[in-house]
Amino acid sequence: MNWIEVREQNSRLSLNRMDKLRKKTQILVVEDESIVAMDIRKTLQNLGYDVPYVVSTAKAAIQKAKEDKPDLVLMDIVLKGKMDGIEAADQIYTKFNIPVVYLTAYADDKTLKRAKVTEPFGYIVKPFENKDLRMVIEMALYKAKVENELRASKASFHNIVEKSADGIIVVDRDGVVQFVNHAAEVLFGRKAKELVGELFGFPVMGGEVIELDVVRHGREPGIAEMRVAETEWNGQSAYLALLRDITDRRRAEEKIKRAAQEWRTTFDSITDMISIHDKNFKITRVNKAFANAFKKEPKELIGETCYEVFHNTKQPCPNCPHMWSLKTKKPATLELFEPRLGIHLGVSTSPILDENGEVTSSVHIAKDITERKLAEERLREANEKLKEYNQLKDEFVSTASHELRTPLSIIMAAIRIMLDEIPGEIVEKQRDVLTRAMKNVKGLSKIVDSLLSIAKIESGKLDLKITVVNICELIKETVSNCNTLAQEKSLSLDFEVPEQRIDICLDPDRIKEVLINLISNSIKFTSEGGWVKVTCTERDGEVLVSVQDSGVGISEEDIPKLFDKFTQFGRQAGPGEKGTGLGLAIVKKLVEMHGGKIEVESEVDQGTTFTISLPLTTKSVAEVLSTETDELVESTLANN
């Protein structure tokens, strides 16, 4: 092209193109005969091409091609050196995609054949005319351009099709797979080369979306969605199948369906009547129990207003819990009697809030509480009865106390009067008879006292009269009271108390009772010549009083039942020594009423030690008293 033609061409093309064309086509000349090389160069330059270099060896050609990336290489087939032009051309084209035009002096078959293999872009045979040279070069450049465009197009195609997440398969009219993209390989778990040429196997019909069960190589089967369109492949009509793997989606859908099903089943299996009401009191959902209660189908109830269905009214009820829940956004409950169903209902409503915290509707649960109400009624009646019985029992304790003691005291007084010879003198025989009678009355009196005592304590009617007492003094007094009893059996009765006084809050009469009981027990169970000792110590805010004897002792198996009511331990006792088996039970209760504890240690034939501990602090005594009485009352009520 000469300059005029170039300018004309430029004016026709866009600026971009002009920029490209302004750059002259660069040609690399590979020719080992230097004169020829120069000549060719000059010719090319005259033709308008840019020839910056001329090289003479194949190696140099490859090197220069790599460095400069010329637009075209003009290669002499015959070159000096190990490599000839054909080899170099092959490399240059393959590696750098630069078109090569062969320059050759002769064209023998063999050489031409070899040259053809390298896919040259043209030949020029020496000697040549300039216009021929130009034509071959232009054609080569054109061909190179077209090939580049094709290559780019293929690359784009490849990018789009292979990168697609959906599987793309082309199937011809006979159902044979012609093309498979990467995603399709993944979908079927097989390589393209295995699939191409095989029968597709699935029916292909244009336009519809079909679901396929896909058997996958090396994985569990899946589900794919297929869309088929008609297309052309290699000039023939074919089908384009787009496949989307929906296995995961399907699984998720199944899960949701199952969950909804489970919820539905649960909802319907609840025996309470459940309904959901919206802001306008319209029923939006009901469970089976609800529908059954009203003997309607669920769909008949949905859309109805709740108060019409429930109460047959035109207005919501004034104390409607649903209304309350709507207003206050809080749950509400209500108990009512439903005349139509003939049952008591416990209704509870809970508001349902949307994501803004506004109430959209509420869940209304109605529970049949008829049984519960009946049970409550029965409980109330039982309680009333219980109160009655309790009162009766308290009256009994008061009356019995009086009614039992009165005749006993009269009998005792009568016998005493006789023995004191007030009505007249008595003889020895009479004295004897009366003395025996007196012993027995006294014994009876003691038994009655014990019975009344425990009855009083257990019915909570025993009040402790608490005062501050020096316990050491109390022990001294009590021991001296028991001296005669001990002397009767020739036992030594001793006490050991600290020098200084120990003041403690207690009911002196009751504690005396406790000590007398323990001491007389010890005396009872110790044979002649033995001893009984009472000791008192202070430790850790407690006062410990022990009554120790050298008596028969208590076996290990008997110890747990020691403080039980009416348990006695077999031994020979005189008439005056008989007991009710209540003594220790009373002792334990009295000690505990003071906030204290009682413990026993014993060894058979060695002796026994009873130890009571009483708290020193006033507050704990008072506290324990109040709780003890409450506990006693409660346990008595429970026991009855």
Binding site: T406, P407, I410, A413, I417, I422
Partner: protein
């Protein structure tokens, strides 16, 4: 111990009897009443030095009698 007058009150006649026996043997002068009203009238008329009063009596109980007695010195 020289002839003090004691008024004993108890609805139980046997109890009154026994108590009377014992007190008389010890040298006291004893008057007995088996109900609250008699007790009050006897107290007024006899003016005893000591009154032994049973608590639990039908009708006017011991405490009631005591209260009434205190009203009238």
């Amino acid at each position: 111990m020289d002839n003090k007058k004691i008024l004993i009150v108890d609805n139980e006649k046997d109890a009154l009897f026994m108590l009377e026996q014992e007190l008389a043997a010890r040298g006291y002068s004893v008057i007995a009443a088996d109900n609250g009203n008699d007790a009050l009238s006897l107290a007024k008329s006899e003016r005893p030095d000591l009154i032994i009063l049973d608590i639990w009596m039908p009708g006017m109980g011991g405490p009631e009698v005591a209260a009434k007695l205190r009203e009238d010195p």
